[in-house]
Symmetry: D2
């Protein structure tokens, strides 16, 4: 039985980790921390967990967490980097759902996150936890930087085209839409029902923190710098990310390639992936079909048979975009079946 | 392995049965019928099921269904009563999620459902599938009439008070609100997003089909006829029922009884029930906390310490109000653990 | 031209006042105050007003407000009572949308609002601004206490029955549902999209601040104390209140009275009211049909012909439940047509 | 007083026309037709109109409509083209909100709309009713083809860039999102609350009927054929369109041009337009800020100072995208003030 701890268990990624881990046959949730709610039963804050989680919030101290085999950070940015080292030296695996270890360049991290990085030395040790790219490294990792929600949807959508040099990597466009839970469980005007409901808008068009993360991942795949325009939008709903990706098709030297070839390429690329599902040609993935599940559903289009390839990629931002992917990483690290605890069917309707 | 068939697999209760049964360790979904979609893969219609259900819709004929140990009817009213007998004579258990066998009085059934009952003789044989009332009878049953969604929420909320003679049974009020999925997967103007979204209304105030079913159940508990005003409302959301129940408190002959006594009574009544959860005093159950789960959460209030008792009772109309309860019945019939396949945590947020 | 000031122009009732007054032919919005946003253009905060309001937020001081003929308080409770007297002595009419002057009993006010009342002497001078009850007094008033949103919907629904002694006033039940905008524009967890969306719950069952206000109004109509159970609920939508009201029918001494008689009574009671609309028998008012308008739509039911009368009453909580009613009061005070600036048709769909 | 008729008054654009025209000081709604509901009062179907529209649905025959000065077609595609000529010969102005006269090429129309065009001769006579492009022609027109909702948002967003040759017109991308009311008031599974709520998807990526209309309009502005990728999406809400437009910036021969220059260009282009509002630099228009109003709000971005220009353009699909624009056209034709009846402030929140 793996003993798991969750630091910052009161946010949406925290409670989502609890939803998944509570039913994971090989995990015991041993510690859940919260500064604000220490002493309170977890299921008093989250009645959805009644009967499945018998834990009280504790203060986030290293001694308490030391009884764990793995510690998840479901904290705001800037917390994991303060505590990770102390856990790692005790041999505890660390899986960070925040952004602290996602960017390989500490200076760029500081630029986007507005603070100095507290442990830049650890950055190189951290493995970017996108199993569809880094599976073998993850299995050996002590410290995992779980990808952001937008970066997961965008990378899984673009990767096969980029890895095969089929699109002009200087002119990528990612028009991405997210449900409000992506903003977290914070008392803010902007995500009130009365502000977000029955309305839609873009935000952070001038630059969103997930931009450098996506560029880093796609550049790694392309083996040269990519040019990306990334526009995030806020949907009047709770869960779900839909990425609409545009690439200019580049016919390879060896000759013609058709939409059917690209479809086959995607199916081939992901055929052993438990959580990436390439839909039949002509499909339009719907975020509801992955709601609550760890799946990414993808479809490929070439409108009017022209030069632009359109990839549609959907995930649940709290699952494949956060807690589910974190558990997938945990499974890999501990040698469990990759889908242990993650056989969850989306809630439709 | 129990071989299960689903007649009418294209509606919301059908797909919800599939979501639950696909992960039920002791069930194999052998047959799913649909007249309209026969020949189509089930997961082509419901992409949320991709990778978990490998079945093609077939025509609803008795021969095909005869390979099953149990057949669920997730059909419109009036279908199960035409097929149940042929399955029962073959020794197949029948669990009907429609209303065909819920009312014990065939004439009243005809009055409310607008058609003759096709097999009135079977009615007396049918067991009303509310495990919290009829558990032992369910275990022996061949034919189960699964309760309606409103009746489940209302009965579980009122039962302890009525069974103990603590409220005036002549003046019960049930003000109940349901998500739009309760109307089913039918092409109708009234449940369009543009009609139902951002709006709220009562409907069928003069008389809803679930009224006689609730009266029948409460009368059975009270051992004398009850008087009930039942007003259903349509919520601008998909899943969830919230019953707000009002009863005039009747102090029993033996003396004073307090809200704390009533709280204790509810906790006692449901302490062995896996799926009925009495919340702490002062709580307000939220439908999201049971969304996707088979739970009913209940809280008890006595506003201003006055004579009126207010019971709040929430369920997911598609789970405890339909498919989950049906599987709970199946588990009882086949001697499985009552919560087999039903350990599902609500999707929050 | 009436010069209007709005104190507290950054909340939802404030911006709704602006929406209405900006197009009111006989009003000029002269002052809009906000401590937090002083110096900012109003339409910078509220882009929906661009092109219609050319005002900058100012600090809420008496001198600035003294240029107005009327000042609306769209402030949190406890602000209007600190400033009203200084405006009144300057001959400025005060229309308070907050609760400061709604309750005639200062001690009860303190009990429910958790603070001492700052000017109890003004309370008796304040006129409760429900035109359908107090029209003549409103015309003469210097200080208006605008009714709360729930109290407006409940009183308009119950009044004809109570005024005519047709229901048992000791056993009134008001099961009322409100959109999230009723909670105001405040950064709070409870009204986040992720908390409120796709979910429904009751709240404050033990006692809500609008309870004493409703009891006060109904008691005034009944001429003796009423007994009321009031249960508010939060809807997963933005605007709208739906009151479902239950009364035990009392046949009057003079003999039989039918549902048709009650229908006629309601039509008669409200036939000269521009903003109360009694629907045809059998109707179910839908909150969308009053969204954005100053209307209250009402229908009357007697389920199964039994003893319980069910009244359905809907308003837009921000219009007839707040800003619209405030303008209706202003029109009366200044001798304008009662519907001036209020001929707004609900936004459907 | 202009006598107006509406053919097809039971859909969402029909009822929206009624909402606007009922309060238009210079219009009398004389005829509203509906085959299905002839004989029924209009406000019986649409209770939001009670007290403002005193008309009964009539059958759509030419004689009845001949009493009108102008007839709006709010019908499904294929109806206006059967009746327009008979009205035009009687000197009645025709404003068609459907697609019948939008495309100048009858064969292309047939290709996209799946039927023969019934009166190709009228097409050249029809004026495309986008006042921001065709104002003078509209004033002289007998027959107006109102633009589609997507085409309105996309054209208004792209026009200043294209008219000034600032972007590569061969590689335009329009990623556009619409509320569910765009699908009309039709009993269809796809737009049920349970299908559309809490979910998001693209649709018709291979080719949507509005594609040729947008290309026609942009090609007219560019004076040479444009290349456009257009991906429509369905939002889980009722009203609103948000277009996110991407263009590759082309520095003109005469030298550098900055984002500030483009901002100034947009402000200049639309400075006399009552209904197009260019927001301050850095803004993100929100669909709620135009909900119910005839406004288009636009902002311009150049993410990271790179080569891609991103234009955000929002409208209410039923107002500027349909009924409001139709009334704007009517005002122009009859020499009224262009904003007569259209001074409507968006409903926020």
């Amino acid at each position: 039985m793996i003993r798991a701890g969750i630091v910052g268990g009161t946010g949406y990624t925290g409670v989502e980790l609890l939803r998944i881990l509570a039913l994971h046959a090989e995990v015991e949730v041993a510690v859940v921390t919260s500064r604000a709610d220490a002493g309170l039963r977890v299921d008093a804050l989250y009645p959805s967990l009644r009967g499945t989680i018998d834990v009280v919030f504790s203060l986030p101290d290293i001694e308490t967490l030391s009884q764990c085999d793995v510690v998840f950070f479901a904290t705001p940015n800037g917390t994991a980097m303060l505590m990770a080292e102390q856990l790692l030296v005790r041999g505890i695996k660390v899986i960070d759902l925040s952004a602290d270890f996602r960017l390989k360049d500490a200076q760029e991290w500081s630029h986007w996150y507005g603070m100095e990085h507290a442990c830049p030395d650890l950055i190189s040790q951290a493995v970017y936890g996108l199993p569809e790219v880094n599976r073998e490294a993850i299995k050996q990792a002590q410290l995992i930087a779980c990808p952001g929600c937008y970066p997961t949807a965008v990378q899984l959508g673009f990767l096969p085209l980029i890895e095969n040099g089929l699109i002009d990597i200087k002119h990528l466009i990612a028009d991405v839409k997210s449900g409000a839970s992506g903003a977290g469980r914070k008392a803010e005007l902007a995500t009130l029902m009365s502000e977000t409901g029955e309305s839609f808008k873009a935000y952070a068009v001038s630059g969103h923190r997930h931009l450098p993360e996506i560029i880093q991942g796609l550049t790694f795949a392309a083996k040269e710098p990519v040019g990306l325009t990334f526009v995030p939008h806020l949907l009047p709903m709770i869960r779900g990310i839909h990425a609409t990706l545009y690439g200019q098709f580049v016919t390879p030297a060896e000759g013609d390639i058709t939409l059917a070839d690209i479809q086959a390429l995607y199916e081939q690329r992901y055929r052993h992936e438990a959580f990436v599902d390439v839909l039949a040609p002509g499909s339009h993935p719907d975020t509801r079909n992955v709601r609550g599940s760890n799946n990414c559903q993808i479809s490929i289009h070439q409108p009017q048979g022209k030069q632009v390839i359109v990839i549609l990629s959907v995930i649940d931002n709290l699952v494949k975009g956060a807690a589910g992917q974190a558990v997938q990483n945990m499974n890999l690290i501990f040698g469990l079946k990759e889908d242990a605890g993650l056989k969850i069917i989306a809630l439709y309707p």
